[in-house]
């Protein structure tokens, strides 16, 4: 996956759709435990297509790919979904409308990242803070927190995993804290 510009395009245009996409998949697939894997399939299909040609309308392309992925799964698994994939059009329209939510997200990027950081478990939050705000090295963080450098790496990696979920996957209204 090294075609020029695909990473940039994915981060700029597809990642911001993740929360809506997760919602759509959860709504249309009975087993929530599968959603992460389905999302991954959707991303691969979307990016492989984008390597050949960048879609004109990213949102509708992504959601159409999501619907087709669900249909494929239904066929493969020989199950009859209780809620079929009927919601797509309604959601697709909603997703095509930028709406105040996304505009607000762009404006409040810092607040959003800060809110996500605040929601990390304390040790992970501390490690990420010392690195990204205070600019300490892993060794300095280890000394400051009284732990080994390998543990620092673990905290940072776990903290990053959580941050990505909070930043991309959570519905926007869940991100805000009162």
């Amino acid at each position: 996956m090294t075609a020029p510009g695909v990473q940039e395009w994915f981060v700029r245009e597809v990642l911001p759709l993740e929360a809506a996409l997760v919602q759509y998949l959860q709504h249309n697939w009975r087993n929530r435990a599968d959603v992460e894997d389905i999302l991954q399939d959707v991303y691969v299909k979307v990016c492989e297509a984008a390597v050949k040609e960048r879609p004109q309308q990213t949102k509708s392309f992504v959601f159409t790919t999501a619907r087709n992925t669900l249909i494929d799964r239904v066929r493969k698994e020989q199950v009859v979904p209780i809620e079929a994939v009927a919601d797509l059009d309604a959601l697709n329209m909603a997703a095509d409308d930028p709406g105040p939510e996304r505009a607000a997200l762009a404006r409040d990027e810092l607040r959003r990242v800060q809110a996500a950081l605040d929601r990390l478990p304390p040790r992970r939050r501390q490690a990420v803070y010392l690195r990204q705000v205070e600019g300490l090295s892993r060794r300095e963080i280890a000394t400051r927190m009284g732990i080994g450098e390998e543990t620092v790496k673990e905290y940072l990696a776990e903290g990053l995993f959580d941050l990505a979920e909070l930043l991309f996957s959570e519905p926007a209204d869940m991100r805000r804290r009162p």
């Binding site: 691969v44 492989e48 810092l110 990204q132 790496k153 940072l156 990505a164 930043l167």
Partner: protein, 322 residues
């Protein structure tokens, strides 16, 4: 294998892939010694399945977004902290912004090969390069990092920067300032671009400075080189004195038998409200002390009481007269 990335487990679920991607991003972005072997391990993993690349992009985007947090760094304005100027606390609260320089594996096609970093008046910034080298930008500084396959190059367009460079014989680290080139031979050094001249002070290791007229000098610890378009001179000083001039790295200025004129010039680099010394005799008085870069008022108080001078504090400037 400095980063010990070679776990044998292979991931099957999306969650496992994401966790692995997060570990790779952290290993890569926060490493002090990212080796070629580490890079090969990462490349191999990224190329194994498109799922891996995509998960890596996603995690990397999340990590990059946390750079915005650097604006949350603690402010230095509380008077209580002034009293422990050189203490650990002061050092800890000193404003530091961290920026990791982007260097992706396998996505070179859209990697910008030049990045510009700038610090505002009174600000500082720390860059950590992919190879673990650190560059600290002092106040009002513009610096460009130019990445290429063969070497590591930086251009200091304006201001002052401290360099702590990981030596790599195969990939020399070069700093260009005006028409001068400084080549690191494994070092810690500081360069200041001051209009007509360039000052290079060497703290550790060795570096070579090449002036435009083919003059060059190899610097060893304690050397301070002053280069203009037509001259190059090197003098020896104690490394302790160079360290004093680097106190800005923790938000401090150390004056040691420094004239009021020099001290005012120094403060004026860090602050918009300028110090003006009205007569040459006053400018020649000397002063000792340690001050916060952003606390001109503390400096003026000391000057007023110790040197018995007059101070007029206007909206735009502070005028010191006999």
């Amino acid at each position: 294998m400095t980063e010990a990335l070679n776990e044998t487990s292979s991931e099957t679920t999306a969650r496992e892939i994401k966790r692995r991607a997060a570990a790779f991003v952290i290993a890569h972005r926060t490493s002090d010694e990212w080796s070629d072997a580490d890079q090969q391990t990462l490349d191999a993993w990224l190329n194994e399945r498109p799922e891996h690349s995509i998960a890596f992009w996603r995690m990397d985007a999340a990590w990059q977004s946390t750079h915005r947090l650097s604006v949350l760094r603690p402010q230095q304005s509380e008077p209580a902290r002034r009293s422990h100027l050189m203490s650990r606390t002061a050092k800890a609260v000193a404003a530091v912004a961290a920026i990791a320089v982007v260097a992706y594996a396998g996505q070179s096609a859209f990697r910008p090969n030049e990045k510009v970093y700038a610090s505002a008046v009174g600000d500082r910034k720390i860059l950590t390069l992919a190879d673990g080298s650190r560059i600290e930008l002092n106040t009002d500084t513009v610096l460009r990092v130019i990445q290429s396959e063969t070497g590591r190059k930086v251009r200091l367009d304006k201001g002052e920067a401290y360099f702590d460079i990981k030596h790599d014989g195969a990939h020399p680290f070069v700093v260009e300032v005006g028409k001068h080139r400084i080549t690191d031979l494994g070092t810690k050094f500081v360069i200041r671009e001051a209009g007509e001249r360039v000052d290079v002070s060497l703290l550790e290791g060795r570096a070579r400075i090449d002036a435009p007229d083919a003059k060059s000098a190899v610097l060893t610890p304690g050397d301070v080189a002053v280069a203009t378009d037509t001259s190059l001179s090197v003098r020896k000083t104690e490394t302790r004195r160079i360290e004093n001039t680097l106190a800005w790295r923790t938000g401090l200025l150390v004056f040691n038998n420094t004239t009021l004129g020099e001290a005012a010039d120094t403060f004026n680099r860090y602050n918009r409200k300028k110090l003006v010394i009205e007569n040459p005799q006053t400018a020649g008085l000397t002063i000792d002390g340690t001050f916060h870069t952003d606390n001109v008022n503390a400096f003026v108080d000391v000057v007023q009481h110790v040197l018995k001078v007059n101070v007029k504090n206007n909206a735009s400037e502070i005028v010191i007269s006999p």
